[in-house]
């Protein structure tokens, strides 16, 4: 239970941090914000990787995790690349 309280603390504090930094993102960048944060939510990939590669695991557990790796990697790679592509379009004449 101690561990639970600790990660709950992390969770709550992270939400506060999230609200603080996201409110500073201007409306102009809301689409890149969504695609970029989408890529960040692909962090699930690290859980998927561990379960997909676990030695002596059950085949079902591994296959489920394998599909999860594919989905999460699409999110990560696609998300960061498309955000980069979009952000490079935002220019200002000097």
């Amino acid at each position: 239970m101690d561990n639970f309280v600790m990660i709950l603390t992390v969770f709550i504090l992270a939400i506060f941090v999230g609200f603080e930094i996201i409110t500073k993102v201007p409306p102009t960048l809301h689409t890149p914000l969504m695609s970029g944060s989408n890529a960040i939510s692909g962090i699930t990939v690290i859980g998927a990787l561990v379960l997909a590669g676990q030695i002596n695991s059950s085949p079902l557990a591994q296959i489920l995790a394998f599909v999860a790796v594919i989905f999460a990697t699409i999110n990560v790679v696609g998300g960061f690349l498309v955000t980069d592509r979009m952000l490079k379009m935002f220019k200002k004449k000097d």
Binding site: V17, T31, I40, T44, T73, M86
Partner: protein
């Protein structure tokens, strides 16, 4: 192999990089770098994970390779007008990944059931991942299908739309039946029927050609309760993994129902809400595998999605419950189009508009999604540059729901080389409109409808709008007097200071450009 402490420190570093990265998005100047910092954070987390233990590599390498290829192709090929579809789909992938990781963790834990039974935190987190992830996945698929216009429509579909629509329904229904039959042979529990029924329900619902049916809201509530009950049962009885899959199945039906009835105008809200869910799903998965970096990143995304959902709801003067349960605002006594327009519409020509610009000092362009549909954004930029050469001050007024997702219009204009400092938010531009000579409305309708301010009975009553009617002259480029999403006539078109230019958006702008050049 790295020690667990070093891995955890690497995770901390990656969480910090995510936060710095998102901070970079506070300004277009620093945003590219910010995004790359966040990507670096992801790389750190992945490398640390892969060095944390001994692995069987085949699934890891294959999975990452397949995902990277698909992700890269999608990112390079997608058109900017199709960003909402892509983000919608990606939200769903995040949800699916969470469900699968939770399921995998449950199956793996059950294998060693006698040795270390999952604790209460893990059990609740698995249930949360299952519910949120499944709702997100199926809800996002519906959002994607509605944006790509192949779900809940009556018209004829393109071949690729048919393949996706029927293929997905078939895979879900057949997959659930197949998994159910196999599990029944192994374990013999009657619960498998629940899974099969959910799969068939999802597959069937997705084939409907109408987005509403009687009793839909009751069904949403019933399924919501059923899902919660099943969730409690999974927590009490985690050894029965089939119970978890039934939970995922009913959550999927719920996800389909919740998004299926949502109309096109509300799509920006839904996409933002699902974005938030995909983050929360990642957080729940973090609680399953006891991992801080998942919890932190998931919370950041969850917070971002909630903020955007709020902004979108405010911009349309709707509440989330309204959107999800498909309640429209008061719709009584809307005046008919004839009453509003009869004899008051003044049509104009490109030459007349060019003359207007001749005497103008300040022009505000109000683009709507119709402009992007007509592919007119490059022409609009050309016109704006031309006007600036004549020392006219040109700015753009962007309503928060001008596109089909938050900030969509800004991206479309940025793609057409419009500089971002010329794009102004509604609250910024409204005080400037009374001093504006010409407001040029192109492809926008409901977001400039003054009825939102004046008629408390209108379906868009109270929605914040861009006050173009306060400009000296309003020029509206539109194909016809057809209403927007709200389905109501727009008295703006009949005002004394409004001129209508009935034309295709792109052709209209090109005509105006040549007329301006000649004058």
């Amino acid at each position: 192999m790295l020690s667990q402490n070093i891995v955890n420190i690497a995770y901390l570093v990656s969480a910090m990089l995510f936060i710095f990265g998102l901070k970079g998005l506070a300004h277009p100047r620093t945003a590219v770098k910010g995004n790359r910092i966040a990507a670096l954070g992801m790389l750190v987390a992945i490398i640390a994970t892969l060095l944390s233990s001994k692995f069987e590599w085949q699934y890891i390498i294959l999975g990452v390779a397949i995902g990277s290829v698909f992700g890269a192709i999608a990112a390079m090929k997608v058109k900017m007008t199709a960003m909402p579809e892509m983000v919608g789909l990606f939200n769903g992938f995040g949800g699916a990944a969470s469900v699968l990781v939770a399921g995998s963790a449950l199956v793996a834990a059950m294998q060693y059931a006698s040795a270390n039974a999952p604790g209460i935190q893990m059990k609740i987190a698995i249930v949360a991942s299952g519910i949120i992830g499944s709702v997100t996945f199926f809800g996002s698929y519906v959002a994607f299908g509605k944006l790509a216009e192949f779900l809940a429509v009556k018209w004829k579909l393109y071949p690729w739309q048919k393949i996706v629509k029927y293929g997905f329904s078939l895979i879900i229904a057949a997959g659930a039946i197949w998994f159910g039959v196999i599990s029944y042979r192994e374990a013999g529990t009657p619960l498998t029927i629940g899974l099969m029924l959910s799969g068939i329900a999802i597959g069937g619902l997705l084939l409907l050609k109408k987005d509403r049916f009687p009793g839909m809201n009751t069904l949403k509530v019933v399924l919501g309760i059923l899902t919660l009950v099943l969730g409690v049962l999974v927590v009490l009885n985690p050894w029965n993994t089939m119970l978890f899959w039934v939970l995922v199945g009913t959550s999927g039906v719920l996800g389909v129902l919740l998004t299926f009835s949502i109309g096109g105008a509300d799509m920006p809200v839904v996409i933002a809400l699902l974005n938030s869910y995909s983050g929360l799903a990642a957080t729940a998965t973090g609680f399953v595998i006891n991992n801080n970096v998942l919890i932190i990143s998931g919370s950041l995304v969850g917070a971002s999605g909630i903020i955007l959902t709020n902004i979108m709801c405010k911009a349309m003067n709707r509440s989330i419950a309204n959107v999800l349960f498909g309640v429209l605002g008061p719709t009584s006594e809307t005046p008919s189009a004839d009453d509003v327009y009869a004899g008051k519409i003044k049509a104009t020509s490109a030459e007349e508009i060019a003359m207007l610009f001749d005497g103008a000092r300040r022009v505000v362009i109000v683009p709507g999604y119709g402009m992007a549909v007509a592919q007119a954004q490059h022409a609009v930029n050309e016109l704006a540059n031309l006007l600036e050469q004549k020392n006219i001050d040109v700015s753009y007024a962007i309503h928060p729901v001008a596109g089909r997702m938050p900030g969509h219009m800004n991206v479309l204009l940025a793609e057409a080389n419009v500089e971002y400092n010329k794009l102004h938010e509604m609250d910024e531009i409204n005080p400037m409109l009374p001093q504006t000579d010409v407001a040029l409305v192109i492809g926008a309708n409901d977001v400039v409808n003054p009825v939102a301010r004046t008629d408390p009975h209108s379906p868009i009553a109270g929605m914040p709008i861009i006050d173009v009617d306060k400009a000296r002259t309003v020029v509206v480029i539109k194909r016809s007097l057809r209403p927007g999403f709200a389905g109501i006539p727009n008295p703006l078109f009949a005002l004394d200071n409004t001129l209508m230019f009935f034309n295709d958006g792109k052709k209209a702008i090109l005509d105006i450009i040549s007329a301006v050049k000649e004058s």
